[in-house]
Subunit: 357 residues, 2 copies
Amino acid sequence: MGINNQNITIKKSTTTKINEVDFSNLSFGENFTDHMFECDYIDGEWTNAQIRPYGPISLDPSAKVFHYGQAIFEGMKAYKSVDGAVWLFRPEDNLIRLNKSAVRLAIPEFPKDLFFDGMELLLNIDKEWIQTTEGSSMYIRPFIIATEPGVSASPAKRYKFMFILSPAQSYYSGEVKVLFADKYSRSASGGVGFAKCAGNYAGQFYPTKLANDAGYQQVVWTDSSTHENLEEAGTMNVFFRVGDTLITAPTSDRILDGITRKSVIAIAEKAGYKVEIRDVSVYEIEEAAKNGTLLEMFGAGTAAVINPIVSFNFKGNDYDLPKLENSYASIIKKKITDIQTGKAEDPFGWKYAVRSI
Amino acid sequence: MGINNQNITIKKSTTTKINEVDFSNLSFGENFTDHMFECDYIDGEWTNAQIRPYGPISLDPSAKVFHYGQAIFEGMKAYKSVDGAVWLFRPEDNLIRLNKSAVRLAIPEFPKDLFFDGMELLLNIDKEWIQTTEGSSMYIRPFIIATEPGVSASPAKRYKFMFILSPAQSYYSGEVKVLFADKYSRSASGGVGFAKCAGNYAGQFYPTKLANDAGYQQVVWTDSSTHENLEEAGTMNVFFRVGDTLITAPTSDRILDGITRKSVIAIAEKAGYKVEIRDVSVYEIEEAAKNGTLLEMFGAGTAAVINPIVSFNFKGNDYDLPKLENSYASIIKKKITDIQTGKAEDPFGWKYAVRSI
Ligand SMILES: Cc1ncc(COP(=O)(O)O)c(C=O)c1O
Ligand SMILES: Cc1ncc(COP(=O)(O)O)c(C=O)c1O
């Protein structure tokens, strides 16, 4: 098996909350399973790996995560077939990205064996919680926080790694209208935009609230120097279809290297679509909207997979996108989710079978 | 009195840790007093204000502070005279800045009465901890964290505000050599650099560690677009003395509006020094270092008050600063600390007397 040669202590819950959950009506990220995985970094090593009943954690009020924001996370999904097999979608890419975030935030990297063993053991223990109905998945949230007490601004010496699990349904976010940022920014060149660190999200909430109040669900961030290049949305990378070409910004130190983005690119290229990975100017997109060649815009991320965008606002002007039959967004979404949910072959080798115990 | 008309519940500790602390040998931010102040934001209001024994807080592992970084703080100091009077230095400015940070991070603002009543009650209860020996002060750390459970990226509905207290000595950080940033950045235009939010600090740890490894104690951040303008250090604003002129960058949405910085400017102007608040180009400072007109550089912040800088590195070249008798840094530091510690008159009205109970 290989699992649990890492000395993971297991304390099982004597009760379950599973009957309190309405799986046909889940809000994203609000329900958690019966158990969680925890592991502490002390004296230079990851230790005390354990699975125990889901519940509160206790920290000193001076713990560095509260003051200096050393906190990183990942988001990934597990799927289960009716015959009980459980698998993940490109999980190693999440671990690699977690550890890139770790380096940039001066957090110790997390070991691969312990990541997989811990996650797979936990998924086995809370397997009943993974539903097999259409569109169901188990959202997995690995994260690391600085737990060392002390209010001096320097990297912590103690950390906690955790996995928590939240059952999810397919995610329909309604008609998404976006605002192109022309004042606020998400990240700087030389900053932490490419890292999945906690601070990147809090910084977006206020400008996003302003956008919400003006009738837009999301902000598409532009580069902070000129606000002329379209980069990504709050929790999604962004694609533009101009004519028959699919365009997306290259990753950089300002942009999260999304796993869904990479998968969209691979699927689009395999399907024979023309894909361009290059700077996307707001003016080019505005012009394409005006002359009718801008056919689609969509976001790509783990939570919603593909999120079509119906209109955008740039400097006070609204531009609607056409409603297409057989959009690239819908075709690509079906191809990805069919692979993720096991309905189609996986020619890319993206699925990872969770070992059962 | 006015204090405790806010219904602050008080639970006193039955023991004290004060005898375990070596006040002549304190590490900054590592010791905390016997009590703490806590207040929760629930259903749209700040409630449950209480002072209780200092100790751990318990949070759901999905609490938003751990994942999305909604966390802000302040740093301020209290001083006590031998006759028992306790006062603060410009505390209202800290509250104003806390609430500016709050708005930018989509956190509810904290009410002024509760801020002062809570802080003053706590200082009264832990008054024994405020030392009167030369250079002693009580560092006060107000902070707010998002406590609501749930891993969806949106502002929390629940928060916790706290005051914790840490006795401090005057802070000598040794000879400070700095590196001018030419690759990494602290903040973006349109970002959160002006806010005292947790994420701003974690993002600096890795580049600062690289600088430390190369022999520099601190990084002086430059603007992220061009790296040509000198902005501020990790926890200090920065001043340059060229000839007889003191120069510092204007505050902006990338720079923390430091209370020490403001105080330095006021004192320097009152002393008749020429002060210029304008963009400071790295090339100008390099040129001034080369032609001998760069006489001083120093950082200004609550922890160290004034921190003289002895050399800087710009793109691989090191430049030493002269050692001056009667430097502006030493004169200004004395003037500020004499006001803070009550040795000199306070012509500016900066001192705020803590009400005693
Ligand atoms: C800022 C940001 N961009 C893009 C994405 C999409 O990345 P992924 O496809 O790996 O989920 C995410 C995460 O979901 C994100 O937080
Ligand atoms: C980034 C940053 N700049 C400057 C300062 C100085 O501000 P103040 O003088 O108000 O302490 C601080 C805080 O100490 C800081 O964190």
